[in-house]
Structure formats: C-alpha cells, structure tokens
Assembly symmetry: C2
Homo-oligomer: 278 residues x 2
C-alpha cells in the first residue's frame, strides 16, 4: 500500500506532515496528518476530529506538537469521513455524510460500501501506524473531540487490547439519546435501534465494556452543545461510576467547544497517554 | 469610539476575543483579535500578519496564548488591510490591496483615502490599547511575520519611543529591492522611489533609524520566499552590523514560511518582549 506524502513542515524539530492513501476499508482515497518528533518515537496517539473537520484542524490549531515532541510521541489525525463520493444526502448537512462519519461501519445502502470508518481506524490505520511509521502495536492510544471523542471512546472500549489509553474533549457520550446521534445512526445504521448500542460509549460501559486504564475526559461548561444536550457527558461518568470503570472527568468552567479549549488542556491529555505509552 | 466584541473564548484561563470598530484612519470598519490573560496585564505586543492573512491566523495557529498567559502579556492582532472597499485593482491579486496593505500610508488615488495602515497601527491602535485595555503607553511592543515582520520593523524603528521592543519572523526587510515590495510600493506610494525608503527597514537603519533594544529576527532556511529573494533577511543584518544597531538574527535550518515555524519559536519571541515589558 502506497502512502503518499503531500506536504511536510519542520515543527519543534520534528515534522508536521500531510498524507494520502488508497483505503481498502472505504474504497476511496483517505487523507491524514501526522506530527513525528525528531529521534526515537516511543508511541502514537490517534486523534479523531469532530463534525465538519478534516485532517487539518487539530494539527494546525491544537498546539500539540510541543508536548508530543517533549514526550517523543507521534500523533496521526485521519479525515472525518470518506471524500469524493456522491451518495444520497451525503453533502446536504453538516452533521451527516461528508465530514460527519461518526466512526461507524455503516449498514445502509450506498453508505455500507464506503462509510466503514470503525474498521478504517481500528484496523487499517492501526496497521498503517505500525508498517509506515514503525510504532510497536502495543504503543498506540486514541483520543478525540466531540464526534471524535465519541469515536475514541467507542473504538477504545471495544478494542481495549489494541489501544493502551483513551481520552476525549467534549465527547458525544450517549449518541443513541441525542439529536446528532439519532440522525446519524438512522442514516448509517438504519431504524433498527438494537444495532445502535455498540456505537454508544455509555451503553457499552453499561453492558460490560471496560478499559483497564482510567479514561480522561475534559468538558467545558460554557459549551453550547453541552448546554443543548448533544454531548450528555455526565451520563458516561454516571455509567462508569456505577460499574467501576475508572474515569477522570474534568468540568471546566467558562470553556466552550472550540479549539481554544482543546489547546488549553491538550498538554494534560498528551501527558495522560505518555504515562501508558512511554 | 465604540469597540464591539464579536466573539469570546476562554483560553489558558484568559480570553481569546474578536473585535470590530470604526477606524478614523482607514474610514472603514476594522477587525482585530486579542488574547488577554487572567489577572493583571503587564503589557501588550502588537502582532502584524502577512499577506492574505486576517485578524484570525495568528490567534488560531501560533499557540501563543500559553506563553502570553505565563508572562501576563496581552496580544492584539489587527487585520492586514481595510476591507469592504472596491478600489481599482484592490481584489485582483494576493500581494496587493485587500489582505496586503504593507502597513504604509498610501499616497495614490483612492488608496490614499483608506490604506493608512501606518497611522492606524502606530497611532489609532496604539491609543486604543491604552483606552480600551488599560495598558500603559510605555508597555507596548511590536512583532510580525513576513509582510507583518516588515511592518513591525518599519513601525518599531520609526516610532522607537512608542514601542519598547521589536521582533519578526521571516520579515520582508528590504522591500524596495524585492518583487513584492516594488509592486506594492508602486501601487501605494507611486513611482517616485524617493518616498519608498521610509518604509524599508534596511534603508531606515542605513539612514540613521535606531532602536535602543536588540531586534530579534528568526528566519527559516527552507522558506520558499527567502529562497526566491522576497525577504532578503541578511540585508538587514548587514546594515545593523555596519551601523551598530543591536540585532539577534537566527537562521533556522529546514524551517519554512508557515505557522508551524512561527509556533516553534513564538515562546522565544514572547520572552524577548517580556524582558522589556514586565
């Protein structure tokens, strides 16, 4: 599998890079960005972005490179959906289709052939990190923001042997119970709600999914989507406490849903993953 | 004068904010962004951006807030030109007109009425920092990137009593001798080249302009515009050494012209200004 380097920028003595490859999971080209520190790379954190984002938002705005370089960790940031397709309804709204995959393996006509982002992240990208960047398979963790926080929680909990640690900023923790999730899961998984719970972090924890290491979550209290009931962050905390899953949930007064919030606390998240990877 | 707050995001315990006001200098609305740390503000650094940028690029991409908060400094980032006009040729190219003011007071028809960015920065914004944000007049410094590095050098050298310190990333140091500068100065100042040297940092130093504090400049050696002869950074270093103007010029191997380069070295620039402001 050829992985094509599109751009490279020296950053904090390492390299911020943009890549493209033909994905076997999505049967489309997929883009991703990376930061690779100078010298020995001790591990990799996958970053999953939120609605409307691409592979560029995190690597441009979060200010993570400094801390990744300090801990000798790389980050890999995939795009938030396949691109270049013309599926029914794919480009009509910001919260479904392009830029809004919700990191599921879709089952509905058309989408089932390409929107296989759960497999793309947990298998194809997981393997690519090892083959392309020589990171050992037991040195990979996962984090994300909003829809990507949902993705990190779901993938990290279901594939708990593959990912050493999980963290999230303002994640959608209970998508079967919020408007964003109901719309996306209906479109990708269909109306049979019995299949939805495998993509709902809170439901997964309630039905037995566990991670051996504490999950780190930051949630801003001035986050408009938190206020509107799209994120439901306390539901995950409640479920974890009920079943004994270790979780560190931090509510941050006055912080919103933006990358300014992420930039403020990204150092703490990278330290969290470094604890398990280095 | 009313200054209207458009957006506010808590960041590193302080606030990243976006503003708009009616400028008396440009006779248009002007936008700017700020980061204001929590608690006592000890000083302010003006950031001038480069070609095609707005008030958003630096505040979103440079990762400066962490270091500004540490040193209790605010930053203010004006837009790179007036907006909303329809002057001849104003929107036809990336290197002239909108997004490309070169921070001069224009003399050519049409532009002379609005493109008065030297006055806007050195008088109107300088005063606004004091009245709107209560920063003492002897606690203001200036920095910038590329076209904005040119602006910071020219404004800082000419108004050396107003600005306590100057720094620049990959500045256009000798615009009378490079294609970007020749095009812009012809359009804004006219063909009489005798008026151009007051907007050329290298010429200013050669003809006697001085700053009492050392000027800090970082220049990437893989910068495509450096390679193409648009920046001419060594010319400023040479002029400073010839006349005894203190300058700290750092050439950075493999770094390019991007915000990844700026993000890598912004901590050092903020420390430089903090030395003179706090």
């Amino acid at each position: 599998m050829e992985v094509k380097l599109l751009k490279s920028h020296k950053t904090f003595e390492g390299k911020t890079q943009f890549w493209e490859h033909d994905s076997t999971s999505t049967k489309t080209k997929m883009k991703f960005s990376t930061f690779i520190p100078e010298g020995l790379v001790k591990g990799c954190v996958i970053w999953l972005s939120g609605l409307t984002c691409t592979d560029e938002n995190f690597i441009t705005k979060a200010g993570a490179q400094k801390y990744l370089a300090e801990h000798q960790l790389m980050v890999i940031c995939p795009d938030t959906s396949p691109r270049g397709l013309q599926l029914p309804g794919e480009h009509e709204s910001y919260d479904f289709g392009s830029g809004a995959s919700f990191y599921v393996d879709a089952k509905t006509p058309g989408y089932a052939d390409h929107y296989r982002m759960f497999t793309y992240i947990s298998e194809e990208l997981f393997d690519l990190i090892q083959t392309q960047f020589q990171v050992p398979k037991n040195k990979i963790s996962i984090m994300g923001h909003s829809m990507g926080g949902h993705g990190a929680l779901v993938i990290g909990l279901r594939e708990n042997k593959k990912f050493q640690s999980i963290s999230a900023f303002a994640p959608i923790v209970n998508p079967t119970q919020c408007p964003w999730g109901e719309k996306a899961f209906t479109g990708y998984l269909g109306t049979d709600k019995s299949t939805w719970s495998q993509y709902d972090a809170t439901e997964l924890v309630r039905s037995g999914a566990r991670h051996e290491n504490s999950i780190l979550v930051d949630q801003g209290l001035a986050d408009e989507f938190y206020e509107k009931g799209q994120l439901l962050t306390p539901q995950l905390e409640k479920a974890c406490l009920e079943v004994g899953q270790s979780i560190e949930m931090k509510y941050r007064g006055d912080y919103d849903h933006s990358y300014y919030f992420i930039a403020t606390f990204i150092e703490k998240h990278i330290k969290h993953h470094a604890k398990f990877l280095t």
